[in-house]
Amino acid sequence: MSAAHQKQWNNRFVQWVDDRLPVFTILQNDAAEYPTPKNLNYWWNFGSLAGIVLVIMILTGIFLAMYYTPHASMAFERTERIMRDVNYGWLIRYIHMNGATMFFITVYLHLFRGLWYGSYKQPRELLWIIGVIIILAMMATAFMGYVLPWGQMSYWGAKVITMLFSAVPLVGDSIVQWLWGGFNVANPTLNRFFSLHYLLPFVIVALVLVHIVALHTVKSNNPTGVEPQKKEDTIPFHPYYTIKDLWGLGLFLIFFAFFVFFAPNYFGEAINYKPADTMSTPAHIVPEWYFLPFYAILRAIPNKLGGVVAMFLSILILIVIPWLDRSKVRSCKYRPVWKWFVVLFVIDCFILGWVGANPAEAPYTTIGQIGTAYYFGFFIILMPLVGKLEKPKPLPESISAAVDKK
């Protein structure tokens, strides 16, 4: 995003602005002419989709906040009032609720794309790490947002998740009291969660901008994992990928709208329409679907501190995979052994999700332990080992060579 090669514009007003603030040059370089590998498939749509969902979430969230009141005695009713009395309140809230699900669907697919095509490898390590930080920020935001309606699952979810920090040796209880602002999840907790839930999305916007700056420095990976070498390997972002992203957006919005209009509570828990009761825990506490695999990992380890550490590590481990993967080949397309372990890893995540949704008893605990073992074994043992031992298929000379062969 440098203003190094400033363009001469025909329109004098545009030129006048561009000389003082190079917005048009930046747009020209980074949104229009930006050279993009010509072989990107539909897996490359999910980054821009996730960005658009972020905008939708911020927009709907701002309007929800105009009617919501973060007070323990009012939050539940105010939320119901949005649903029943506020003009289009039901629509705005259902978009926001299901938007969280859509955000995680797009981001998880985006993450899988990176894993499958080796987009985390040199020189894209920082790009990848910023992405992991974005996911962590998203998780914190989603968790605190889920607490705001102050239903039964909101309350007990908040309790269980904040209590995770009580596992910290010595200072655990003090940390939990600090998080709560009291001796229990109560009004001070709700107040601060609302404050942070409003703040964090803007932090995510900033992180996304950093993510894009890093992306435009190292440029996009592509399905072959071979860097573009000559001009024929790339095409300008506009109109080729703007139109492809828009087409994908159209399909995605149909999917999104289906849930908003026809199954708005499909991803939710019915018991969250019961006001928070501090004296009775629901028989079966489950987090939202996007946390289920991590919840299963938490419960797989029969030691409190161990479970909490494993849960946090299950995400943090993504930060070091650029160095765990010893293979020089990026794309799974040319990794005949590794790709099956990645497939198994995806299946493992679904199994862990299923375990997380079920009660902590036999046989789920054992399955959860096996699933957890594979989850970590995949990164710590298989990733370096397969990378070293596997004999990859021959790489194409260039992107053009790979495309022309077909």
């Binding site: 009580s166 602002g181 825990t281």
Partner: protein
């Protein structure tokens, strides 16, 4: 950052080391100052004074007529389990080998009067409220309480016996005011 006067040498008060010293001390003061300025913000998130003003409560135990009955009261926004234990329960709780418990504590240490068990009804794992207070609820493998969230089993004295919870259900500070009244806190 090579300066003209660095030629005078790095030892002692020479150019670079003197500048480095100034840079480091300035940075250190800045970091410490910023840290100190941050403290009021961090501490503001701790429980406020009115939250801390711990009201102790007096609980009338007379609604519990006979052994085997229980009640739940609220103290500091937390449920407190009060149970009038039966003879068999007390006997059971006292017959276990304390050394082999996950969180070794004898039954005597956990009660003021053997028949009255008073404890905070919050699972020490992740804060759910264990079942077992009301009739018909599951009481776990040890005839006490069972936490449905992650499967912790507590015995007749509220001690952890099985499951992920690391500690026994805590006993709040309390004292008998008279035979049928206790003061918690």
């Amino acid at each position: 950052m090579a300066n003209a006067d660095s030629a005078s040498g790095n030892a002692g008060g020479g150019g670079d080391s003197r500048r480095d010293f100034l840079l480091w001390t300035t940075s250190a003061v800045g970091v410490v100052g910023a840290g100190l300025a941050l403290w009021p913000l961090i501490d503001s998130m701790n429980p406020a004074k009115d939250t801390l003003a711990l009201a102790s409560i007096e609980v009338d135990l007379s609604p519990i007529k006979e052994p085997g009955q229980a009640m739940t009261v609220t103290w500091r926004g937390k449920p407190v389990f009060i149970r009038h234990r039966t003879e068999e329960e007390i006997e059971q709780a006292r017959s276990v080998d304390v050394q082999n418990l996950p969180d070794p504590q004898s039954d005597e240490e956990r009660v003021e009067k053997p028949e009255w068990l008073v404890m905070i009804g919050i699972c020490t794992h992740l804060g759910c409220i264990p079942l077992g207070q009301k009739q018909g609820q599951p009481t776990g493998d040890y005839n006490g309480w069972f936490c449905p969230c992650h499967g912790s089993h507590y015995d007749e004295a509220g001690r952890i016996r099985k499951g992920p919870a690391p500690a026994n259900l805590p006993v709040p500070p309390y004292a008998f005011v008279d035979d049928t009244t206790i003061k918690i806190g």
